[in-house]
Symmetry: C2
Subunit: 342 residues, 2 copies
Amino acid sequence: MTKWLDGPATEEDVIISTRIRVARNLSKYKFPSRMSVEESDDLTDDILNTMKDTLANNYKFMRIRDLNPREQLVYVEEHLISPSMLRTKDKSSFLVKDDEKATIMINEEDHIRIQTLSPGLNLKESWEQCSLIDDELEGELDYAYDEKWGYLTACPTNVGTGLRASVMLNLPCVSMTGNINTIIEGLRKVGLTVRGIYGEGSEALGYLYQVSNQTTLGQSEEETIDKLNRVINQIISRERSTRNYLKGKDPLKLEDKIFRSFGALTHSRIINSKEAMEHLSNVRLGWAMGLIKNNNLKDIVKLMIDIQPAKIQERFDSEMTEEERDIARAGIIREFILNMEG
Amino acid sequence: MTKWLDGPATEEDVIISTRIRVARNLSKYKFPSRMSVEESDDLTDDILNTMKDTLANNYKFMRIRDLNPREQLVYVEEHLISPSMLRTKDKSSFLVKDDEKATIMINEEDHIRIQTLSPGLNLKESWEQCSLIDDELEGELDYAYDEKWGYLTACPTNVGTGLRASVMLNLPCVSMTGNINTIIEGLRKVGLTVRGIYGEGSEALGYLYQVSNQTTLGQSEEETIDKLNRVINQIISRERSTRNYLKGKDPLKLEDKIFRSFGALTHSRIINSKEAMEHLSNVRLGWAMGLIKNNNLKDIVKLMIDIQPAKIQERFDSEMTEEERDIARAGIIREFILNMEG
């Protein structure tokens, strides 16, 4: 199961995980979209060569084109690489750290994208980890950097710090009351974006939302991290107070919702991804509120990843139709919860 | 819990229960609707007096006006008396046999209505039991009877045999496929009626349907019973073959439905009557098909009665709002199933 979720996590009653990534490019190469496969192989060799002493020891290297389509999707579902990596399969590759908490993507939209992942809210430390890797690379490689504009990137929206910091939140209660819409509107006004669990263009699954900075220009990395951290803490307060409000106003209605979700997860024989994610989100809420007492439920986030389409097919090592996956998903969930209770 | 459901039952994978009633009137009294309270008391005394040696030993006598409104409804929900008994509360009374399998209602729509109840499909024997009581009463009382028309009744639809034979069926599978509509249409064409669980005008709860004869004129009691028996057996075949068809076609979809209902019943904290009945109907199907192996589930029919509004309030000896009952209902169901599993 997804290793990067292991370890201590803070604010985990509301926060699922934290992700930091920086976009970097090398001055002597064209941007990935304009590169030939040969040039991209040269770039890749260049990066690997530079890194062989410092980073490569704890990292596993993989080229997208050497993975079968299912394996490629598994890495995406585990959040170790971004979906965009699969747009240019011939040119893209990545290094993933043994503990999965860091990935260096080569030839995604930019030459280099460094990503750090951690469970819970961990913006500052995660940024420091990312920055450390970035410094090591920058020591060896000639980054495309402009005194006025900062780091140059393939897409203008990343120019400047090249930093995107994202936090994944479980917001069932502000979703139930409908306040989520006001929150999303407010976030947009302060230059933050809200996305679903699998990044750009993806729909919210369950009650999981990914909040990240939009701006990379005119503010330092520290300012970006601090600002996001402040806003995330406001959302945490809002979700917590809504939980308390709902618990005080109509405790049984909330319990009913949570336990019905638990009942559906432990009894269904066919379940699609959307429904499963919603119930898992509710059950995680029940665990966070102390209504379902079982600390293993912390791992429900791993289960959320394990029931994604490619992960299911990887587990059974077979190509499956949507219906077959819905059946397998129900089984995986039941097994997880039964083992958990045992 | 409802005693009349005890004892052996046939065809119980589909059939919940059998009910027979005959309507009788005494020639020297006006029909109940035209009677004063005094006259109805005279009639009641007359009947009780006549019966004191033969029947009264094993029967308990009650006047509706001596029961509080909740007690009155409990008898209705247990099917021991008909809802119409509560229309003329001052004039109506009843005798209920110790094993609850027979009731004699005084001043319902007619002076006398004899009812026998039994679990499963039991038309012939139930009719014989009813007829035996009828014979005993007829030996002592002067029934309004016409050579040409048969037994005279307050409502012309009962004139003739005065017999209504009803069977309660659990038809989840023909309901799921939508075939229930064709069946209902067909039944109407052969002079049978289909009603919900609480008689005339009541909506189908869960997948429970009550099928009974419409005609009381121009055919003997035996013909009525035989015809209904034949048709009921056809419906049983139809439901069973549909169960096998669905099991063969998509076993997991059926299992999914049944186990999700089981999950909802064991986990909900608030549940209304309609939803509970539907899930209980599905779970009974699961038991009948051997998917949920627990013979105590036979008593789910008793549970169906125990979660009706007045029964719930009787159990807690308190007046409850609809919401309070929905909460209590969820608790009663969970308790029943947890005890069952223990």
